[in-house]
Symmetry: C2
C-alpha cells in the first residue's frame, strides 16, 4: 500500500505522492512529458464535454489547425516572439533532410490561426469569426510538475475576430465568465478574478484577464486566461476587412484558453491525507460499489441485487469492485485514495433488509439507505458533496488571503508562510519588481480600491492588486 | 459561385474543387498540413463520438501519451525503424539549446506506449491491458492530398497486451469488425477485408488486417488497419509478466487505428456533380431549413412556424438559413454543395396549409409533408438515405471490381482504366513486385480461393488477392 506524505507538513511531496499512487500520471523518457493515465484522462474528458458544450452554445465552432508553425510566423509580432522564444521546440529535420525554414511546435496558435483568418476575413459580413480548437501544445520547461507545468499539455484555445473593440471586450468577458462558472460549479474551486499587469500579461495582448485560485500552500495558480489582443496581431498578419463604411479596417481579436493544469488544481484544493477527493461533476466514478461477503451463499445474496443497483443508479457513473484478491478494507483504501465521492457497501445482512450503506468520502459519514430511497439519496448526496467541497475550499481560501499594507512587513511572511496578499500598488513596474525579493508576483489587478497607498513606494495606489507566490 | 470540375472526366480535380468549395479544408504555410475547417471537423467529431463509445463498450480506456518520442525508441524494433525513418519530423532544438538526443514527433505510438506498458505490466493479473488514444501524428509526406495523405493527421490508435496469442488474435478481429460495422453503417461505404502481404504489412507487425474501399476512380483506399504485433515489440521494450505458471513471459500485443482519411473516402464515394452528399449518420447538418418569402408579411407567416419545426425535429441536427443576402436558389446551391441530406423548404402557402416541402439531396425528389407527419417522415427519409447511399456505393463498387487471371492481360487495363482486380498469387514477393509496372499493389489477401494460378508466374495460387492502384 502506498503511504502519502503528510499533507500538512510537506504539501508538495503529498502532491507528488498522490498523483502517482492514484495512477493519474506516469513518467516518460522525455523531459517534462508525462503519460496521463486513464483515470485522469477521464476527468479531462468530463471537463472537455462540459466546456465544449458551453463553447458551442456561446456561438463558437471547433476546427483544427496545424501542430507545426513556420518559425517566421512566431517572429511577426514583436512581443509574442520575445515571450515565447525561450520555450520553443524546433523541428529542423524532416523526411531525412534539413528543412529550409525550421518549424516550431505550437506553443499557442495565435500566429497560425491569424494567418488563416487573413484568408477568410474579407468583409464585415464575415465577422464575428469565432473559432475554438482542442489541442496539444509544447512549451519547453526547465522545471516540470505533472499537470501544473509540463512540456506538452492539453487545452482548448479560442480565437475570435470582431468588428469593434467593444464587441471584442464583450467576448473576452463572456468567456472569462464561462470559465469562472465552470471552475466554481464543476471543479468546486473558489476564484479571484482580475486583470494581469503589463509585465504579467500574455505576450502580444493589450489586456489579459485571469482567473486565479489559491492553493492550500498559499500559492496562487492561474487557472485560465482571456485576452483582448486588439489589433496587434491583425496588423502583424495583415487581417483586414471592408467595414460597414466601405473602408479597409483591422478587426479586433481575442483569445482564451484553459488547460489540463486545472486537474492539478482540483487535486490540490480538495485532497486530504487519504488521497484525492474528486468533485462529483468531474469524478470518473461517482459511486463505487463494494460488496461484502464471506462465502458463496453471501456472495449470491449480495449479487442478486446488482441489477437493481444498476437500474437505480443508471444516471450516475458507477463501478462494481469485484476484485476477489482484495479484502473490503483494501478496497476502501483503494477508492478513498482515488477520491470516489460515494462508496456503497452491501453485505448479506443489508441485502436481506433491502438496504445499502453509503459512505461520504469527504466526511466519512455512513448512512443506511433503504433500496427505495437509493436513487434520490445518491442524487442529493452528490449535489451536497459538490456544494460542500466548494464551501470547504472557500473557507480554506479565506484563511489564506490577507490584506497587507507594506511589502516590507508582509513580504517576509509571504516568503516563509502560506498566504496571498491583497495590497495597494502605484502601477510602477519597479515596485512590482520588488516582489521578487520574496519570490512573489502580482497575480491580478482587482476591481476594488481598499488600499490607498502602494505596498512599496507609498505613493497613491491606483487599485488593489493580488500578490502571491505562484505555480 | 464555385463551379466543380466534371466528376466523370476529372475525378481528382473534382475532389480538389469540392473540398475547398465546401469549405472543408484550407491550405497552410506548412507543407502537407491543412486546416480542417469547422464543417469537416464536425464530421470528425461525429465519427469520434460513435467510435469512442464503441471503443469504451469493448473494454478499452482512453489515455494520453507524449507527442515526442526519443529517437532511440524508434530504433529499437528493426522493421519499425526501417518503415518509419524516411517519414520522421525531428526536433533537434528546444529551449534555445541543441538537444542531446533528438526527439521525433510520433508517426505512431507503439514505441512510447510499449515503454509505458513495460512499467505497468508485472503479472498476468495486469492483463489484458487495453488502451486507446485520440491523437495527432506526423509523417513527412512528399505528396499530400487533404484528408487522404497529409503530413499531420488525426486518428485513434488502440494498443493492447494479452496473455496469449489467441487472445491477441481475438482482439485484432474484434476491432477489425468494429471498423467494418462503423464504415458500412455510419459512412455507408462497402468494403473488402483482408490480410496485408509481408511487403505491405505494418512495420514491426506479424500480421496486418486491413479494410479497403474502392473509390469511384477504381483506386483502393486503405480505410484502417488492425495489427497483430505478437511479441516483437514486447521483446524490444522488455515487457514481461509473471504468467499463471509463474514463469516470466512476453505478452502478445496488438494495435489498430483509423484516421481522418475516412472523411476523404466518404467525400469520394458519395459525392456528385453538385458537390458532397454526406451520409446522415455523420452529417453536421441533417436538415437545412430554407424559408421562402417575398415580403415581411410572408416572412412573419413562415417564421411563425419555426418553433414548431424546431420541436418536431429536436432529435435531428437542423439549421435555419436566414441569410438575407441570398436568394433561395443560391441557398439551394450552397447546401447541395455541402451535401446536407434533406432540404426543408417552407413558403407562405406551405405555412398556411401547415405543410413543408422536403427535398432529398441524393435523388432531388420533392415531397410535400404535412406538419403532423414531419418528424416521422424526416426520420424515415434519413434512414432511407443512409441505406440508399450504401446501396448505391455497393453498386458502384461492384462495377469496379473485376476478376483477372493473368497480370499481363489485366495489368494494362488496370493502369489505364478504373478498376481493381481479384486475382491469384503464389505468395512470391517477386510476382507481387511485378504489379508496380502497372502502378498497382496488392491490397489484401482474401479468404476466398477462386483462382488456381498466380497472376504472374502461373504457379499454384495460395489464396485470392485484391490488387489495385491505391491512394
Amino acid at each position: 500500500m502506498n503511504k502519502l506524505s503528510n499533507i500538512e507538513k510537506d504539501f508538495a511531496q503529498w502532491y507528488q505522492d498522490v498523483i502517482y499512487a492514484a495512477e493519474l500520471v506516469d513518467e516518460t523518457s522525455v523531459r517534462g512529458c508525462y503519460v496521463i493515465r486513464p483515470y485522469a484522462w477521464k476527468m479531462w474528458e468530463l471537463i472537455q464535454a462540459y466546456l465544449d458544450a458551453r463553447i458551442k452554445e456561446t456561438g463558437h465552432q471547433n476546427a483544427a489547425f496545424p501542430l507545426l508553425i513556420p518559425e517566421s510566423f512566431i517572429k511577426r509580432e514583436a512581443e509574442h516572439v520575445e515571450g515565447f522564444s525561450p520555450e520553443l521546440a524546433v523541428v529542423t529535420m524532416a523526411g531525412g533532410k534539413k528543412l529550409e525554414e525550421p518549424l516550431v511546435i505550437r506553443p499557442t496558435s495565435e500566429t497560425t490561426i491569424h494567418h488563416s483568418f487573413s484568408r477568410w476575413i474579407k468583409s464585415w459580413r464575415d465577422l464575428p469569426l469565432k473559432i475554438n480548437q482542442w489541442a496539444n501544445v509544447v512549451r519547453w520547461e526547465m522545471r516540470s510538475r505533472p499537470f501544473l507545468r509540463t512540456t506538452e499539455f492539453f487545452w482548448q484555445e479560442g480565437h475570435t475576430a470582431h468588428e469593434t473593440k467593444q464587441e471584442a471586450e464583450t467576448e473576452v468577458q463572456l468567456m472569462l465568465n464561462e470559465y469562472v462558472s465552470f471552475i466554481q460549479g464543476q471543479l468546486a474551486i473558489p476564484v479571484i478574478i482580475g486583470q494581469k499587469t503589463e509585465v504579467e500579461k500574455f505576450a502580444g495582448a493589450e489586456k489579459t484577464y485571469a482567473v486565479e485560485a489559491i492553493m492550500p500552500d498559499g500559492k496562487s495558480l492561474q487557472m485560465c486566461t482571456s485576452h483582448l489582443l486588439s489589433q496587434n496581431f491583425a496588423k502583424a498578419f495583415n487581417i483586414t476587412f471592408q467595414d460597414r463604411g466601405k473602408t479597409q479596417s483591422y478587426p479586433y481579436l481575442t483569445s482564451w484558453g484553459i488547460t489540463t493544469r486545472v486537474i492539478g488544481a482540483t487535486i490540490m484544493v480538495h485532497g486530504d491525507q487519504k488521497g484525492l477527493i474528486i468533485p462529483p461533476a468531474i469524478a470518473p466514478i461517482q459511486v463505487v460499489v463494494v460488496p461484502i461477503y464471506k462465502n458463496d451463499d453471501e456472495k449470491d445474496a449480495v449479487q442478486a441485487h446488482y441489477d437493481f443497483i444498476k437500474t437505480a443508479l443508471a444516471d450516475f457513473r458507477i463501478s462494481f469492485d469485484e476484485d476477489m484478491s482484495k479484502t473490503p478494507g483494501a478496497k476502501f483504501y483503494h477508492w478513498e485514495l482515488r477520491g470516489v465521492p460515494i462508496r456503497l457497501e452491501i453485505g448479506k445482512r443489508d441485502a436481506d433488509k433491502e438496504q445499502v450503506v453509503l459512505v461520504n468520502r469527504l466526511t466519512g459519514e455512513k448512512n443506511i439507505v433503504p433500496f427505495d430511497k437509493l436513487s434520490t439519496t445518491v442524487k442529493m448526496l452528490l449535489e451536497k458533496l459538490q456544494k460542500d467541497l466548494y464551501q470547504r475550499a472557500h473557507e480554506k481560501m479565506d484563511k489564506l488571503v490577507f490584506v497587507g499594507e507594506k511589502l516590507s512587513e508582509f513580504g517576509p511572511k509571504m516568503a516563509d508562510e502560506a498566504g496571498a496578499y491583497i495590497t495597494g500598488w502605484c502601477g510602477d513596474p519597479a515596485c512590482e519588481q520588488e516582489l521578487k525579493k520574496y519570490k512573489a508576483f502580482t497575480r491580478c489587478l482587482l476591481e476594488t480600491h481598499k488600499l490607498s497607498q502602494c505596498m512599496c513606494c507609498g505613493k497613491s495606489s491606483k487599485r488593489d492588486v493580488l500578490v502571491a507566490k505562484s505555480y
